[in-house]
Symmetry: C2
């Protein structure tokens, strides 16, 4: 059983996922570049994954766990957390632990082994974003879970172990620290000014325009004021909304346009870079928040390592966001 442990000084929770490595030498990640005929995410290989928990696009006549789908969500075969069991929170001297209970799922974004999120069509990306929503709506009924983190690792250097386009979902019994810090920072701003800080940022970015990359009727894409790494890019809904999972499909369509445009621009500017994106939303079952605002953070994994930055929380970024944004605005996609 994996374990969740809390650092007593800074309050950071860590998953000790022993199921994922048998020996210390296993800790170096290996990238499996399986050809399509061996890929467990390709149509026809549905028996190589755990049974699907969500599917879209499959004709009503065709059976579950067979081909014919457009987006397919399955439990991760090597989960960092286990779905069965109780949390059993307990102390060990000054330390805290609980069982590593949670869900770890894979969202297979397309049936086509050769495509990625950046070169799907807008309706196809909308289906992926709708799958994110559907999984949150299902999993939030499990009262053991407090937060659902949706993220994507693209490319081996960004931590992807399989080539076929996919994102991941981890349902956690605790809110991740960075989300908590964001929520608290946003609440402080709201307490002082009775305004959402993300709405303030959207307004300033649309006015200044120097860090703006793209906008449509509902979403805005920009390089943030203090980016941690070159070409970090944020996607925010223009209208205030704290919870991703309440967005109607129509608005997710605008988000899909924004996300696809962002990935396409990053791909054209930097030559298909490895990247991560993270979806930050309000914790599960919290009341809609006037101070928090869901968003997506996209981070190309360009520097070989961020070891120092990661250990200190201090970031050195050689590319001003204004330059990155101009580059991304002008790139031909």
């Amino acid at each position: 059983m994996p374990e969740l442990r809390r650092d007593p000084i800074v309050g950071r929770w860590v998953i000790i996922a022993t199921e994922r490595a048998k020996r210390p030498s296993d800790v170096v990640r290996v990238h499996e570049s399986a050809p399509a005929r061996l890929c467990p995410f390709c149509p026809g290989h549905e028996d190589k994954t755990p049974r699907e928990v969500y599917v879209s696009g499959r004709p009503p006549s065709s059976p579950a766990n067979g081909p014919g789908w457009k987006v397919r969500v399955v439990p991760n075969r090597y989960p960092a957390l286990m779905i069965e069991g109780d949390l059993e929170r307990e102390a060990n001297g000054i330390y805290d632990r609980m069982n590593g209970i949670g869900a770890h799922e894979v969202i297979i974004e397309t049936a086509d082994h050769t495509k990625d999120l950046g070169n799907l069509t807008d309706p196809e990306v909308t289906e992926v974003l709708f799958a994110f929503k559907a999984r949150i709506v299902d999993l939030r009924n499990d009262l053991r879970f407090r937060y659902i983190l949706l993220f994507k690792n693209h490319g081996p250097a960004a931590g992807a172990t399989l080539e076929h386009a996919h994102s991941q979902l981890i349902a956690l019994p605790v809110t991740p620290r960075y989300v908590q810090v964001e929520i608290e920072g946003a609440r402080r701003h709201y307490d002082h000014r009775e305004r959402c800080i993300f709405c303030d940022i959207v307004m300033q970015e649309r006015k200044e325009r120097s860090r703006l990359v793209y906008e449509n009727d509902e979403f805005v894409v920009f390089a943030p004021w203090a980016p941690r790494s070159p070409f970090e890019t944020w996607i925010l809904p223009k209208r205030h909304e704290s919870n991703y999972e309440v967005e109607p499909k129509e608005r997710l369509g605008y988000c899909a346009q924004a996300l696809r445009s962002t990935l396409k621009r990053l791909g054209a500017a930097l030559g298909d870079p490895p990247y991560n994106f993270i979806l930050h939303s309000n914790p599960l079952r919290d009341a809609p928040s006037p101070s928090y605002h869901w968003h997506i953070e996209v981070m190309p994994a360009l520097a070989h390592s961020a070891g120092f930055e990661w250990g200190s929380g201090f970031h050195i970024n050689p590319v001003p966001p204004e330059e990155a944004a101009e580059f991304l605005r002008l790139v031909v996609t």
Copy 2:
């Protein structure tokens, strides 16, 4: 002039260091594996670095910026921050910025191009740790600086760009966020219990022993309860002390033993892994703190990327610290 920018939501400061990259394509770090005859840190090449700000081991007769030294500290030729100028703090709408004022120095740990910190002698490592102290004591007189971060990147995968053994120092006008979070967490513990949380941790680790790696009269080395990555290892003084720079040379000798033993064990266990270490100490000119406790955090850079973890603050670690510690205890060094 580089710039310091503050993220308005979470309060994180970022250095926008435009001097370090001229074009977006420069952002991918390149490792220079210069042979000793071209290495700017080797004896005889002192003219290839800026003029030294500290040196040890050079006979009184030999001139500055020539050979004969054991440890040499020079300004970084490609500094992330500039030493000359005023901070000029200012607002830009809801955003905050200041000039990128600070010091960025390189501590050349040995004259021998073939050696690393893990295979120097204890007295040689002591000289390096004493150089850290001497630089803090000198730089803290500059009232523009609030914090001095000492760190080491070893190996290209951990961000090192030169092979010759060296560590780095960055003097900052702000306290890095992770240090701030540690200080606040430690203060909360002290407010409740009137005990230093680091002293509590030292006590529990020495009693439980399952995460203990090494100890001598003055220092203890262990795998922390909730490690962010496999084989993360902490080095703490047993006696309470908030400020590194007040340690007498004799105690730094014990620290050198602990550090060298740690690096040697990691090297033997994992085959000369890339690693980072960070020295965390009380902010400059703060009164000695009963709640904070200086320490060194060593992190092997084993996983290919920590992009997701880095973006979420959530860490998945496949190696329990008890297993890592046992491995490091038993390894032949």
